[in-house]
Amino acid sequence: MTVETRRFGTIEFEEEDVLLFPEGILGFEECTRYVVLKHGEGSPFFWLQSLDRPEVAFLVADPAGFEPEYSPEMPPGVAQLLRLDETTPRLVYAILSIPHGKPEQMTANLAGPIVVNVTERLACQVVVEDGEWSTKHPVFEGAGGTEPSAATAA
């Protein structure tokens, strides 16, 4: 199957690659189907490309790569929505924001991680309530004092 995208042109995918967000992502509730694209070979960055709106895509990465302390509590209801039990393999991604032309100012939304049930290809955005994590967590060394990790600023 193929889909037209704004950033990446026409991309090909299989139905079993599709990641379903039953409740969409906050602000984009109508976008429920995504494919995960690698940014590049060996890159820690991925793109969640919407299959419903070609202009919608989110840059994501595993927060463990730049914030090893990150282990937010899952609110009740997530396990049920994503059909997770203790043994289900899961991934956590953070949505990243980069101001135009300033990769060193990349931030991660650690207040709203994406949780993925890898086996069933189900996912949702969780809002972490405890207030410990920011929607604009600096990814690189800076005000937050975070060490640069797998990626370095160009």
């Binding site: 602000g27 940014h39 989110f58 009740p76 949505i95 924001s97 929607t135």
Partner: protein, 68 residues
């Protein structure tokens, strides 16, 4: 929007399973207790709004700005 007035210790039922209780009122601040099933997400609205706003901002991210 349904608008109700409540005093301290009064509550509101939403459906059969959700209860909102006014615990106490001190000056400008009201403390609210919420009883709801485990699968219902309860959040302060500002956090919800911030995450939503950040998602919108995130869609501005351009592939050419991503470090290699």
């Amino acid at each position: 929007m349904l608008v109700l007035s409540r005093r301290e210790h009064q509550s509101i039922m939403i459906g059969d399973d959700i209860e909102i209780v006014v615990l106490d009122i001190r000056g400008e601040q009201v403390r609210i207790g919420i009883r709801a099933p485990k699968d219902v997400t309860i959040l302060r609205q500002e956090i919800y709004a911030q995450v939503q706003q950040q998602n919108v901002e995130a869609t501005e991210t351009r592939p050419e700005d991503v470090p290699e």
